[in-house]
C-alpha cells in the first residue's frame, strides 16, 4: 500500500496539532516563583519574600523572616539590667537610643524610681534625634528603591551631623548605651545645645530639599500614588503602628495619647496624618514627622532644666518582683517591652514587641495582584528593619 498525498497531508496535520499541543502545555505556566532575598538590595536586610509571579504580577507573596534572629529575649533571661541595656541598642540599630528607653522605663516603673527632670528632657531630645536619624535614612532610601540615586547621599551626609552629636554626648554613634535606670550616664558636653540647634536647622533644610527632589517629582508621584493602599481597619487589624497607620488616617501617637515620664508634653507639636494610605502618604507623613521632631528638639532644648541627671539608685540594681509593660512611639512604630521580674539582678523574662514585625506581616495581603516594581515600592514605604523584625 503506497501512501497517497492526502495521507501525507493527514499526517502533517496530526503532527502539527501535536506540536501545538506540546507548545501550549509548555506555555501554560502556573507562574514563576521568584525569591526576593534573603540577599537582595531592596529588602533592608535579610528578609526573604517568596513571590509567585504571573508575568509581572504577583499571585501570592510569602515573607520568611528569621534569618537575623539573635535571641534577644533568651539573652535577656541570663543578663543583668545594665548589660541588657547594651544589648537592646542593637534591635533597631538605626533608632539607637529609642530602643533603650522603654526597657529602662519599665524597670523604673517596677522600682518606683523617677529620673530627675533634666534627665527626662535629655532622654526625650535624644529619642527625637534617634527619630530624625532613622527617618532621614528612609527619606533617602525610598528614592534609591525607586531609582533616584542622589537623595540617599544627601540623607547620609546630613545624618552624619546628627550621629556626630549623639557621639559627642554618649560616646557611640549607633549604640549609645546612655540610658540608665534612674537617669543618664553622663551629662551633655559643653556647646552641645547650640550645636544641636544648628544641626536641626540643617535637617529642616534637608527636609525641604527632599520635598523638592522627591515629593514634588512627578515620576515619584506616579510611582507611589495609589500604590499599596492600606485601609484604616486592615492596618489596625494587622497590628501596624507608627507612620504606616498614620498615613492611613489613624490619629494615634503614643507620645501624645499616653502619659509618659518623658518630656513630650512640655513641647508644642502636632501629629501628622494623611487620609490616602498609599506609599506616597507614608513618605509624606514621615517627612513631616522628621520636621516635627526637629521642632520638638528645639523647644525642649530651649526649656532644658538645670539639675542632676541621675536619681538616687543603689549600686547593685535589683528590680522588685512584678510585671510592667511600657510602649513608646519609636521611629519605626510602637515598640514595647513586657518585663517580668522576680526580684533578681536580672529580669526573669523580657518580651520585646517590635513594630517592624507587625508592619511586615501585612505583606501577603498587600502584595496580591501588584506588579514587581510596585512590590519594591511597597516594601520601601513600609520601612522595616530586619533587626527589628527578627530580634
Amino acid at each position: 500500500m503506497t501512501t497517497t498525498a492526502s495521507d501525507w497531508r493527514q499526517a502533517a496535520y496530526v503532527a502539527s496539532q501535536a506540536a501545538d499541543a506540546r507548545v501550549n502545555v509548555e506555555l501554560e505556566t502556573d507562574g514563576m516563583t521568584l525569591n526576593l532575598g534573603p540577599q537582595h538590595p531592596a529588602t533592608h536586610g535579610t528578609l526573604r519574600i517568596v513571590v509567585r509571579l504571573d508575568g509581572e504580577q504577583v499571585l501570592w507573596a510569602d515573607p520568611a523572616c528569621g534569618y537575623m534572629h539573635r535571641g534577644y529575649e533568651k539573652l535577656a533571661e541570663v543578663r543583668k539590667y545594665p548589660q541588657i541595656t547594651t544589648l537592646v541598642n542593637r534591635i533597631d540599630w538605626l533608632g539607637s537610643f529609642a530602643n533603650e528607653v522603654p526597657f529602662i522605663l519599665a524597670a523604673e516603673k517596677l522600682m518606683d524610681i523617677e529620673a530627675p527632670p533634666r534627665a527626662q528632657y535629655i532622654r526625650t531630645v535624644l529619642f527625637e534625634m534617634a527619630r530624625v536619624a532613622n527617618v532621614t535614612l528612609f527619606l533617602g532610601d525610598m528614592g534609591v528603591q525607586l531609582g533616584a540615586v542622589s537623595p540617599v547621599f544627601y540623607a547620609f551626609r546630613d545624618r552624619e551631623h546628627v550621629l556626630n552629636l549623639i557621639e559627642a554626648a554618649t560616646g557611640g554613634r549607633f549604640h549609645p548605651n546612655y540610658d540608665r535606670i534612674g537617669g543618664l550616664k553622663d551629662d551633655l558636653p559643653k556647646g552641645w545645645v547650640d550645636e544641636t540647634k544648628a544641626v536641626m536647622k540643617k535637617m529642616r533644610a534637608f527636609c525641604d530639599e527632599m520635598e523638592d527632589l522627591l515629593l514634588g517629582n512627578e515620576i515619584f508621584q506616579a510611582r507611589t500614588r495609589g500604590i499599596g493602599v492600606i485601609p484604616k481597619d486592615v492596618g489596625l487589624e494587622y497590628g501596624m503602628s507608627g507612620a504606616n497607620v498614620r498615613a492611613s488616617g489613624v490619629d494615634w501617637d503614643i507620645r501624645r495619647d499616653e502619659d509618659s515620664p518623658l518630656a513630650w508634653k512640655h513641647a508644642d507639636w502636632k501629629v501628622w496624618t494623611h487620609p490616602d494610605g498609599d506609599s506616597f502618604a507614608r513618605y509624606w507623613v514621615r517627612l513631616q514627622e522628621t520636621r516635627e521632631a526637629t521642632v520638638i528638639i528645639d523647644q525642649l532644648l530651649d526649656g532644658l532644666p538645670a539639675g542632676p541627671i541621675m536619681a538616687k539608685v543603689p549600686r547593685i540594681i535589683k528590680v522588685p518582683a512584678g510585671e510592667a509593660f511600657i510602649h513608646t512611639e519609636n521611629p519605626m512604630g510602637e515598640m514595647g517591652y513586657y518585663l517580668v521580674s522576680k526580684g533578681d539582678i536580672g529580669p526573669f523574662r523580657v518580651k520585646i514587641k517590635t513594630p517592624s514585625f507587625n508592619n511586615v506581616s501585612i505583606t501577603p495581603w498587600l502584595l496580591r495582584g501588584v506588579y514587581v516594581p510596585d512590590v519594591i515600592t511597597i516594601l520601601a514605604s513600609l520601612y522595616f528593619i530586619l533587626g527589628d523584625i527578627d530580634r
Binding site: 548589660q83 547594651t86 542622589s150 559627642a168 560616646g171 549604640h175 514634588g216 512627578e218
Partner: protein
C-alpha cells in the same frame, strides 16, 4: 499626564546646586577628623590602679576580659602582719568580642580603665585583636580628659589635692612622648567651666622628664625588697616623675 515642568525641573535644580557646591568628603587617610572626646574607640588600662577586683571581667556582657593574677605577701613598713596583695599577671581584652558598651569602664571602682577615641587598631588576623597589658598601657597616653559639661549640669566636686593617690581623674599628665590632641588636653581641663565651684589653687602641671637618679635608686631599692619587676618599675617611675616635678619647682 500632569504638567511635567515644575516638579522635575525643581529636582534638576537641586542636583545642579549640589553639583556646584563643594563636596564634603574628608579624604582619609590623608586628612583625619578627630572624633569627639567621649567617643568609645578603645579601652586603655592603667595598671597601677588595678587591684584585680575582677568587677570588669564579671560585668562584661561578652566576657571578653581575661585576667590572671596571683597573691603576694608584702612585708609591712613597721611591724604587724604582712599585707597580701594581688598582683596582675595578665590583663587582656579581646576586642573581637568587645561590644564597646563601656560597662567595664563604668564599673571599675579604682579608675583603672579609660576610654580613648583611638580607633586605628585594625588587624589582619582576628586572633591579633586580643590586646595585652602593654598595648592597653600604650593607649592610656591617648586618653583625653572628660569634656567640660553643658550649662545647667551638676558638676561633681573636684577631687582632693594630689597628695599621693594616683587614683585621680583621667587627666593624668601625659608623659613627654604623648601624641596628638592629648598634649593640649590638660590645658582645657584647667580652664574648666565657671559653673564649677571654686577649686583649691593648684600649681599648673609641668611636663618633665623622669629624674634618672631617683628612678635608679627606687628601682634598686624595690628590687632588693623582692618586689615584682613590673611593679618595681612602675613605682620607680612615679617616684622619678614626682622628684622631677619637685625639682622643676612645681607642685
Amino acid at each position: 499626564m500632569p504638567k511635567l515642568v515644575p516638579g522635575v525641573i525643581k529636582g534638576l535644580g537641586v542636583t545642579f546646586k549640589e553639583l556646584i557646591t563643594p563636596a564634603v568628603t574628608v579624604q582619609y587617610p590623608h586628612v583625619k577628623e578627630a572624633p569627639p572626646t567621649r567617643a568609645r574607640g578603645v579601652i586603655a588600662l592603667k595598671e597601677d590602679n588595678c587591684t584585680v577586683c575582677m568587677l570588669c571581667a564579671r560585668e562584661c556582657p561578652d566576657w571578653c576580659i581575661y585576667i590572671d593574677a596571683h597573691k603576694e605577701t608584702h612585708e609591712p613598713a613597721s611591724g604587724g602582719k604582712g599585707r597580701s596583695v594581688k598582683v596582675l599577671d595578665r590583663f587582656a581584652i579581646d576586642f573581637a568580642l568587645c561590644m564597646y558598651c563601656g560597662i567595664c569602664v563604668e564599673v571599675c571602682p579604682f579608675d583603672a580603665l579609660f576610654w580613648s577615641p583611638e580607633f586605628e587598631y585594625a588587624e589582619y588576623d582576628i586572633l591579633k585583636l586580643t590586646h595585652e597589658m602593654d598595648r592597653l598601657e600604650e593607649w592610656t597616653y591617648k586618653v583625653l580628659p572628660p569634656p567640660p559639661l553643658e550649662d545647667g549640669a551638676v558638676v561633681p566636686p573636684p577631687p582632693p589635692a594630689p597628695a599621693a593617690a594616683p587614683a585621680v581623674a583621667a587627666a593624668a599628665a601625659p608623659p613627654p612622648q604623648a601624641v596628638g590632641a592629648a598634649a593640649e588636653a590638660p590645658q582645657t581641663a584647667q580652664e574648666t567651666s565657671d559653673a564649677a565651684p571654686v577649686k583649691p589653687a593648684r600649681a599648673p602641671r609641668v611636663e618633665v622628664e623622669p629624674d634618672q637618679e631617683t628612678y635608679d635608686r627606687v628601682l634598686a631599692a624595690e628590687l632588693e625588697k623582692g618586689t615584682d619587676r613590673r611593679v618595681a618599675e612602675g613605682r620607680a617611675k612615679s617616684a622619678a616623675l614626682r622628684a622631677a616635678r619637685a625639682k622643676a619647682g612645681g607642685s
